[in-house]
């Protein structure tokens, strides 16, 4: 299970750059000595301009001629000059002397001493880290599948299939019903998506279906659902079940879930006339319009419609908790479109759109104006009562005139919202499964029923569908990676992800298709998908030390870790995002990556020289998330903001990867405090790995006992949420913390380390 050892004898080299003013502010000679004597580097060189062609060539030559296998570059931040300092086949660490020392420590002779100490520590840390690193060997898969499965044959699914095929990949399209087209096929026309955005346009479903039929790269399974999905990106095995009961197996590399939406049940809105004759939802009106086929639209009872009222936000944006609490986004545009069905056929038909806030995204404003020009009346009001029947009536509160009013109509259309077909809600699923595993028969039955409602029927220990985010919509990393679910290689697209109209759904499906292609390519090369795209490292566990506590399997935000027959963790490397949350979770520290492990960080913590108490130079360890906090610290440097020279910053892949051993090691070693900087957590999370920051906060909330045992104050460990834009704030956080620790006095652990 262990990663293959580096094949050749390791040879360590350190290169110290004296450019950008590093040489003027620091004694580079002393740093060289430290790298040689303390860092035990076989080869140490300094260069006045390390990132220029000649400097880089020096390193390349040493790799080629001196068989250097591990390189520590003490120059600028690891985020700078990444192209110059890229050497294949060697492990590399970066000591941040520029952004991390030169630019953040106050200028002037009086700071020379602390500046030099800080630089020396970073060199020590860089050397210590690189010695623990292995160059990730990657894990190329011979038989990785690049076929992509699309679940759902609506507008989103068809678009994804066509985009995938156009890019030269095979697509398998599974559709539950007997025909492609989904909701879009039920429409008479769609909202305009081309200039001048003034008239409803053909849906284009028929053309798309024909194109799919004529594309050999696309296989379509109609009347079919997914019976089982197992595996991981590059090797998903899908059981496609036909209505007849026949099951076929297909292997795919990635999945696009475009399972769409259903309309909110109109029967749940009796006060708005739901269920009464001549009160329909928007889908109901589309059916009437398709029946009319361009002629006068007639009611179900055959009467020609002379007046119609559209009630917007019916059962939506509900604050009472009874109906949908969100806005479905498309319905204002859809009602406008439907009003033009009437006006274009006969301008004398009275059409009233009753809205609270008219929301027409995209080019919808143009369409809105064009409907006004046609004479569609827009009334700002809230409908309180709708009566159906032969002559319908809408009672409403006019929000402009502030009065109750009633409008008669031949037909009332309720703009109900979109309800996602996202399958099983894992938060409801998990307790049922726990009970079922405990032997509860009722729970077992309930679990089996729930599983039938699943869309993907994933064979994951974490549950049969992708997690749901808000309001039951399929997971999406809304702030950075909208197509990504927490299940690697499974991309949600279209209205299953968030409410949207056809145009947005086609854009969405195109994006998801391209992400799926990336996923299959990465899986074949054994590389990580987003956000550590291209990362070849993957976690391995030393199982002989494993206590089967299951924390890694439970806490992995991506469901990458299953349990094998012996209840040991089983890593599905292709599902892994390489965040290291499992490594942070492991109480016995058996999980590591080749180039990122408990040791690579732990050795840095220990490499720092902690001064004696009487020197009055505290040491503060800052573990900074490399996605947001570390760039923010770099940017503070670029802006030449000064923070205390007593901190030592170590970038971590995610705060979730922070193992408490680093903190106890630091405090035992005499550090005065530990500050963790991660991303925003909670519902509005900004964590690249969704749950990492939250888990870190949770774990740190439990560290009080450990601190108490050590006789330390709880203030010695703090956790902060920062954003990438917080460059001024991180400086303040550090300086305030240093001041706070100063009041607390030096750590009593000093000298025992």
């Amino acid at each position: 299970m262990n990663a293959p050892a580096t094949p050749v004898t390791p040879k360590y080299a350190a290169y110290i750059c004296s450019g950008c003013g590093i040489g003027d502010a620091m004694k580079v000679g002393q740093l060289e000595n430290i790298a040689k004597k303390e860092g035990k580097m076989a080869l140490v060189k300094s260069h006045p301009f390390l990132c220029n062609a000649e400097g880089v060539q020096t390193i390349r030559d040493d790799i080629a001629n001196e068989q250097v296998t591990h390189v520590c570059i003490a120059a600028c931040s690891r985020r700078a000059k990444t192209e110059a300092f890229q050497f294949d086949g060697v492990a590399m660490s970066r000591a941040n002397l520029r952004e991390g020392v030169l630019w953040v420590v106050a200028a002037g002779k009086e700071h020379d001493e602390v500046r030099q100490e800080m630089a020396a520590d970073y060199v020590r840390m860089g050397c210590a880290e690189v010695k623990k690193m292995k160059q990730p060997s990657g894990n190329v898969k011979e038989s990785s599948s690049k076929r992509i499965l699309i679940v759902g044959g609506g507008m989103s699914g068809m678009t994804a299939a066509l985009e995938i095929a156009e890019a030269g990949y095979e697509a398998v399209l599974v559709e539950k019903t007997g025909a492609l087209g989904g909701m879009a096929a039920q429409l008479w026309k769609r909202q305009p998506f081309k200039m001048p955005y003034a008239a409803a346009q053909d849906t284009g479903v028929a053309e798309m279906v024909a194109k799919i039929g004529a594309t050999p790269l696309i296989t379509v399974h109609l009347n079919s659902t997914i019976a089982d999905t197992s595996g991981a990106p590059g090797r998903f095995v899908i059981q496609v079940a036909q209505e007849s009961g026949a099951v076929s197996e297909v292997t795919v590399g990635a999945i696009v879930q475009a399972s769409g939406f259903t309309t909110y049940d109109i029967a749940k809105l009796p006060e708005l006339g739901g269920g009464q004759p001549n009160v329909v939802d928007q889908a109901g009106l589309e059916a009437l319009a398709r029946q009319a086929n361009g002629g006068a639209i007639k009611r179900a009872d055959g009467k020609e419609i002379k007046s119609v009222v559209f009630v917007q936000c019916a059962g939506q944006r509900d604050t009472t908790g009874t109906h949908l609490s969100y806005c479905s986004g498309h319905c204002c545009g859809t009602s406008i479109k439907q009003a033009t069905y009437f006006k274009d056929q006969n301008p004398d038909i009275d059409t009233v759109v009753m809205y609270q806030d008219l929301r027409v995204p995209g080019m919808g404003e143009d369409f809105y104006r064009s409907a006004q020009e046609r004479g569609v009346i827009f009334t700002k009001g809230t409908a309180s009562k709708v009566t159906g029947g032969d002559s319908c009536a809408v009672t409403f509160k006019d929000l402009i005139l502030d009065e109750e009013n009633t409008i008669p109509a031949d037909l009332v259309v309720l703009a109900t919202g979109q309800v996602p077909n996202a399958g099983v809600d894992l938060e409801a699923w998990n307790p049922v499964v726990t009970a079922a595993e405990g032997g509860d028969e009722a729970a077992k039955a309930q679990r089996d029923v729930m599983r039938t409602t699943s869309v993907l029927k994933l064979n994951y220990r974490q549950g049969p569908d992708v997690p749901q985010f808000k309001h039951g919509f399929a997971d999406s990393h809304f702030i950075c990676f909208p197509y990504e679910t927490r299940r690697t290689g499974i991309y949600a697209a279209g209205p299953v992800r968030r409410p949207m109209d056809i145009l947005q759904a086609t854009d969405d499906a195109t994006g998801a298709a391209l992400k799926a292609i990336q996923a299959v390519e990465n899986a074949a090369l054994g590389r990580a998908a987003h956000p550590r795209s291209g990362d070849l490292s993957f976690p391995t566990a030393r199982l002989e030390g494993c206590t089967q506590c299951k924390r890694c399997t439970v806490e992995c935000p991506f469901g990458a870790i299953d349990e094998d027959e012996k209840r040991f963790p089983k890593f599905n490397e292709e599902r892994c995002r390489r965040c290291g949350t499992c490594m942070g979770a492991c109480p016995v520290r058996v999980i590591s990556f080749e180039n990122y492990s408990v040791d690579t960080v732990g050795s840095q913590v220990k490499a720092v020289e902690v001064p004696e108490e009487d020197e009055e130079k505290p040491r503060i360890l800052v573990l900074a998330c490399e996605n947001d906090a570390y760039p923010a610290l770099d940017m503070a440097g670029m802006a030449r903001m000064n923070y205390s020279a007593f901190v030592r910053v170590i970038p971590v892949r995610c705060l979730g990867s922070v193992n408490t051993i680093w903190i106890t090691d630091a405090l035992n070693g005499g550090y005065d405090g530990v500050m963790m900087m991660g991303c925003k957590k909670g519902d509005e999370y900004q964590c690249h790995f969704v749950k990492g920051s939250e888990l870190a906060h949770y774990r740190m909330s439990k560290i009080g006992d450990t601190l108490k045992q050590m006789g330390l104050e709880p203030e010695r460990v703090v956790t902060q949420e920062v954003a990438i834009t917080d460059n001024a704030r991180v400086v303040k956080l550090i300086n305030d913390y240093v001041a706070e620790l100063d009041k607390l006095g030096p750590s009593p652990m000093k000298g025992f380390g």
Binding site: R369, Q372, F378, K380, I400
Partner: protein, 207 residues
Amino acid sequence: MTTANTNAIERYRNNFLKEVEANVEEGHMVKMCMQCGVCAGSCPLGPHWTHSPQKIFMMIRAGKRDEVLGSDSMFMCTSCYNCMVRCPRQLPITHIMHGLANYAHRLGLAPKGQPTRDFATLFWNNAIKKGRVNELMLTLRHYFRGGLVSGIKEALGMQSVGLGLFMAKRLNPMEIFGGHGVKDLKGFHAIVAKAKEIEDRKKGFTA
């Protein structure tokens, strides 16, 4: 007037918006209002009248014919053009307000005793008589609109201004006997009559 009103009601039945579109200056733009309320918030006279332009437009679309045409709002407009400049939908709000005022006035539905309306009527009748405004008579008729006692009170209150104008030869007391007019008075009256005929035809006041 009442006949015109009855005719209009008859012709447009319940569709007041159509009536406004056909008969009110720039009335066809009323349907383009998106009810954002910028006009209402921009009007310097906002607190002093019953309905903001936003409400007037909403009322038109809601078919509130009597309320709209009986509103004092259109007469309170000072033509500052703030609303028109700010309207995101570029509705010529000021023009529409004037158009509505004119239409309500002609139908005889405008509020009785509305000072702006009364003064405008006074001014028009005065100017039309001889083709020139008889300022003395305009002022006197305005002061005495509410009767003899209040007229004398109001006139006395303004006597220093009147005397000043007289001393500066800006006010001729002889104008009380009819005043001066344009050269071709007959021709002028013919022009006005023709203009009225055209307008009546355009706005549907002739059968």
